[in-house]
Amino acid sequence: MKEKSRFLQTPIEPFAVEAGSNAAEILGRMEKISFQGRNLATAHRVWQKMLADDVTIFLGMAGALSAGGLRLIVAHLISNRYVDCLVSTGANLYHDLHETRGQYHYIGSPHADDAALAEDGIDRVYDTYASEEEFISNDAWIAAFATSLEARPYTTREFLHLLGGHLWETTGRDGILTAAFRANVPIFCPAIADSSIGMGLSQARQNKPGTGYIDVIGDIVESANLIIRRPRTASVVLGGGTPKNFINQASVQAEFYSDKVGGHRYALQIVTDVPHFGGASGSSLEEAQSWGKLAADSPRVTVQSDATIALPFLASALAATAPPLLAKRTMPVFTLAGRVMTIDGQTVAHERFEDVNESAV
């Protein structure tokens, strides 16, 4: 008989159902099945590799994940330092704040009568409801906090750290903002204006001139300098959107000023968008390589899935497999309270890029 082809080395092992398996065991066996199931199992592997290596891990978060019940998973990933820097949409931080302030989102139906909801002052996020009245109270709360700050521009990193601190002091509850505050993990929110946090900030400006100013360009400089200071990075993206682009552009920007930056060393994305409509959310990680956003030899995986399916599964599996890696991790140490942040004791400027390509003389 002809010798077996080099392509036929590893047989598919049909998934056998075993009662009482934990997520890590299930994902372990899903490595031998196909399609997005295998990709999710590969994502588990890739994240473990990130944790074992000396890299700064960025987490990008888009889509209504906080309203959708995933906020404590993200808080867990931050508190236990599965990730080192969060880049989020404004809405995810806002809906996190909503629940941290002791309010809820409610189980609803995607087939609801929206006119009836409007009459009751209920806002709908697909199959999840929330109270408009409570939202208005959040906006006022954010505005009052922003008004209490010194009247000067803040990067989103500084503002969100302070906001998380205030939220922790007033509520003592777990959430994304409070976890990031307590773990000293920076949060960037590149489209903060495009959310109720931005709307709250606009009210601050109304209350007291000079407050409610956000320096989003400072965010670009800080995020790039952060990578210049610590050039080995990894990217975990949920949903795509502006956070995906922000994490990637930081790497591209940093590369101008340091030849040690060569794109992310690892990349993992969980997206429902697909590449063939041409948008950034669905773009492939291979496409990112052409831009230098991702190193050529980087371990990488795209999982085409709704994050509400993939993330609980993946995070639960990591909770079983990652602790030894987390214990040995060499993670970056930040200070975030001031105008100038630091990473591993070095300052990270927000006014100008650190040019390490310049000769030392």
């Binding site: 409509f277 041409g278 085409q304």
Partner: protein, 377 residues
């Protein structure tokens, strides 16, 4: 009386059926559409559709290539009024045979029998529609009686035809088309099944039991003791014979589904089963909303088909997938083809050559078998 019949008490169809009738759109090769596709459709799926139009019109339809062109249809295209495009393509010899879901041919009969399907809304109350005896296909609405009367016509046709043996779907649809033409000659302008019979285009259905046509053939067996059978084996061999005889082969795939597979399995049947080294398709055009990432066949790429010998390895530049709803892409595609310098070809009229082609397949297959036997011994 069936519950949903229109004369059952309390049923008013007026409200839901007030939309315009769905008409069969006939492409005429409008130069503005060709201009838009050549110059305006430049990137992403517009770019892919533009490539598909150019590959089809300039290469597949080029007289010197004499490509045998198969069209596969999945998704509710005839209810959406795309039958007119198919009619025009058949009339002009731009498609040589068709593999369709049964539903597309069944719903085509409504037009042939002068029933009206209406434009409507996808956001309607289906319980109300049910109570009113209205059937919905996404945003296409029509009275349930259309189904009942079309079914009655099919059963009547089967009895009248005297068909009482195992036949191909192409034969069944050909006979059905002739019957429609006899009953209502004008329907050649708005029925795919009637036009296919007139133009000699064989119509195959890959899953004949999976539609109302199959349901009524089943009725004939159960209730009349009829012996008419659909023989899918004969369909497989006929499609193989057509593909084998093609100087070049190419396909236009709408949607995907079982018609896509049925078309593409022809080459593997030839090399894998019959030992006839025909090679794969020279051209491959697909319009689909499915994605490759779920692993299913509908979304599978031409590159994947190369590994199966369904598409020739050297021809990937002549394969293209446009990710788009066919109700958008196919009328544009047909306008482009109809208006191209190759917008009319002599019709192959394969319906009349089926026996001859299958005889030739039988000869080749037997010769290949003999050769293999002698190589073994």
């Amino acid at each position: 009386m069936p519950y949903r019949s229109p004369s059952s008490p309390g049923h008013s169809l007026k409200k839901s059926l007030s939309g315009k009738p769905i008409a069969n759109y006939r492409p005429t090769g409008r130069p503005e559409v060709r201009y838009l596709i050549d110059h305006g459709f430049q990137a992403f799926n517009a770019g892919r559709l533009s490539e598909a139009c150019q590959i089809f019109s300039e290469k597949m339809l080029a007289p010197e290539n004499d490509t045998t062109i198969g069209l596969t249809i999945a998704g509710a295209m005839t209810p959406a009024g795309l039958g007119g495009c198919v009619i025009e393509m058949m009339d002009r010899g731009l498609v040589d045979f068709i593999i369709s879901t049964g539903a597309n041919l069944y719903h085509d009969l409504h037009y042939a029998l002068n029933f009206t399907l209406h434009r409507g809304s996808p956001f309607v109350n289906d319980v109300e529609l049910f109570e009113d005896g209205v059937i919905r296909i996404y945003d296409v609405l029509f009275p349930a009686t259309v189904l009942l009367e079309t079914d009655a016509y099919i059963r009547d046709f089967i009895v009248r035809s005297g068909l009482n043996e195992a036949i191909t779907t192409s034969e069944f649809h050909y006979r059905l088309g002739l019957d429609l033409l006899e009953k209502n000659p004008a329907c050649v302008e708005y029925s795919v099944v009637a036009r296919a019979a007139a133009a000699g285009v064989p119509l195959y259905t890959s899953s004949p039991g999976d539609s109302s046509i199959g349901m009524n053939i089943a009725y004939h067996e159960l209730m009349n003791g009829g012996t008419l059978m659909i023989d899918p084996n004969k369909d497989v061999n006929e499609v193989c014979a057509i593909v084998m005889a093609g100087k070049q082969n190419g396909c236009v795939i709408l949607g995907g589904g079982s018609p896509k597979n049925f078309y593409l399995q022809a080459q593997p049947t030839l090399w894998e089963v019959y030992g006839i080294p025909k090679g794969g398709n020279e051209y491959f055009i697909q319009i689909t909303t499915d994605s490759v990432v779920w692993g299913g066949l509908s979304g599978a790429t031409p590159a994947e088909a190369v590994s199966w010998g369904k598409v020739n390895p050297g021809v990937l530049p002549d394969t293209v997938v446009a990710y788009c709803d066919s109700t958008i892409a196919f009328p544009l595609f047909c306008e482009y083809a109809v208006g191209s310098p190759n917008g009319r070809r002599p019709r192959k009229e394969l319906v009349h050559k089926r026996d001859e082609l299958v005889a030739s397949l039988t000869r080749e297959a037997k010769a290949a078998h003999k050769k293999r036997q002698s190589e073994k011994s």
